[in-house]
C-alpha cells in the first residue's frame, strides 16, 4: 500500500515529462494574449479561472476578432466539454471521496493529468488513496501552467516562433496514446476520431473537439457489440 505522499510524488513524476510541451505552450498562450491587446492582468486571470490551455487562446482570439462574448464563452464551454468524458471515467476511482473533496479535485483535472492518472489507476485499483496521484498530476500541471503563462505575459514570446513549438502539443498526446496502437480496436477508434476531427474542423464553436470523440465512442460501442 503506497502512502499519500508516495502517490502524490508518483503523480508528479508521471506527468512531468509532458511539461516539455506544456511550458512552451503556456508561454505562447500568455504572449499571444498580450499581443492581441488584452490587459496582462486579464490574460493571467484566465489561467487561474479557466485553467484550460487551448480554450484560453480561442477565447481571446474570438473576442479580439470581434465575436460576441456569448460566442466566446460558448466556445470555451464546448472545447472543454471533453472533461465530461474524463470525469465519467475517473468517477469510478473517486467514488469514495466526500462531496467537498470531489468538488475540489475537479478543478485540477486536465488532459494530460487525466491520461496519466487513468493509466495509473487501471494498474493500481487496490490503492486506498488513489486520488493523491490525480492531485499530484493536477497540481504539477497547475503550477507549471501558471508560471508558464505568467512568464509569457511578462516577458513576451521569448520562445522563437520559427521553432514551431505548438507542434509539441500533438506530440505530447501521441506519446499518451501510442501504446494503444497495439490493439486493433483502439486503432479503429483513434482513426475514426482523427478523421472526424478533420472533417468537422470547420463546425461552429470548435465543436469538432467533442463531435469527433462522440462519433469515435459510438464506433467503440459497435466494436464491443461485434466482439461478443
Amino acid at each position: 500500500m503506497l502512502s499519500k505522499k508516495q502517490l502524490f510524488t508518483r503523480g508528479m513524476l508521471d506527468i512531468s515529462p509532458h511539461m516539455l510541451s506544456v511550458i512552451p505552450f503556456g508561454i505562447i498562450c500568455g504572449a499571444i494574449g498580450v499581443e492581441l491587446g488584452f490587459h496582462p492582468y486579464l490574460v493571467y486571470t484566465m489561467s487561474f479561472i479557466i485553467f484550460g490551455g487551448a480554450s484560453q487562446i480561442v477565447f481571446l482570439q474570438l473576442l479580439s476578432g470581434g465575436a460576441s462574448s456569448l460566442v466566446a464563452v460558448a466556445s470555451v464551454g464546448i472545447i472543454n466539454s471533453r472533461h465530461l468524458l474524463y470525469g465519467a471515467v475517473l468517477s469510478e476511482y473517486l467514488e469514495k471521496l466526500s462531496f467537498i473533496k470531489k468538488l475540489l479535485i475537479s478543478y485540477i483535472v486536465v488532459d494530460q493529468g487525466f491520461a496519466e492518472s487513468n493509466k495509473f489507476f487501471k494498474k493500481n485499483r487496490g490503492e486506498e488513496f488513489l486520488h493523491y496521484h490525480l492531485i499530484g498530476t493536477g497540481c504539477t500541471m497547475w503550477v507549471c501552467w501558471q508560471i508558464a503563462t505568467l512568464s509569457g505575459i511578462v516577458l513576451g514570446s521569448f520562445v522563437p516562433e520559427e521553432l514551431g513549438l505548438k507542434f509539441a502539443i500533438p506530440l505530447t498526446f501521441i506519446a499518451i496514446v501510442v501504446q494503444d496502437l497495439k490493439k486493433l480496436d483502439h486503432v479503429i477508434v483513434m482513426i475514426t476520431c482523427g478523421l472526424s476531427s478533420l472533417l468537422f474542423f470547420d463546425a461552429p464553436f470548435k465543436s469538432y473537439i467533442i463531435i469527433s470523440p462522440l462519433i469515435a465512442l459510438f464506433v467503440a460501442a459497435l466494436l464491443l457489440r461485434l466482439k461478443k
Binding site: 465519467a88 506530440l171 501504446q179 476520431c193 460501442a221
Partner: protein
C-alpha cells in the same frame, strides 16, 4: 466586461470538470457504458493530435510533404518502441526541425 466573460467561461469549464465526478454516481452508468468509457483516451486525444498536425495556423489543410507529417511519424515510431514520453516529443520536434532548418532551408 471581458472579466465577466472570463468568469462565465471559467464557471462553465469548472462544470464540465465537476459534473461527472461529483454529481453522477457510478451506479447510474451501466456496464455497457463503462466498457465504452474504456476507449475515452483513444476517442478523445486524436481530436487534438490530427488537427495539430494536418491543419495549419490559418485553418487550412497542410501539403502532403509538410515537415509536421514526417515529425509525427517519427514520434509515433520512437514512442511505440521507447515507451518514453520525453523521447517521443523530442524525436518529433528534432526531426521536424531537421527538415525545416536543414533540408528545406
Amino acid at each position: 466586461m471581458t472579466l465577466t466573460s472570463i468568469i462565465f467561461a471559467g464557471i462553465l469549464t469548472y462544470f464540465t470538470r465537476m459534473t461527472m465526478i461529483a454529481l453522477i454516481s457510478r451506479d447510474m452508468l451501466g456496464d455497457k457504458i463503462k466498457a465504452v468509457l474504456e476507449y475515452v483516451p483513444s476517442a478523445v486525444f486524436p481530436a487534438i493530435i490530427f488537427p495539430g498536425i494536418f491543419i495549419n495556423d490559418f485553418g487550412t489543410f497542410i501539403e502532403i510533404n509538410d515537415p509536421k507529417i514526417f515529425g509525427a511519424l517519427v514520434a509515433v515510431i520512437v514512442g511505440y518502441f521507447s515507451k518514453n514520453i520525453i523521447a517521443t516529443i523530442l524525436a518529433g520536434l528534432v526531426s521536424y526541425w531537421f527538415l525545416i532548418f536543414v533540408v528545406f532551408n
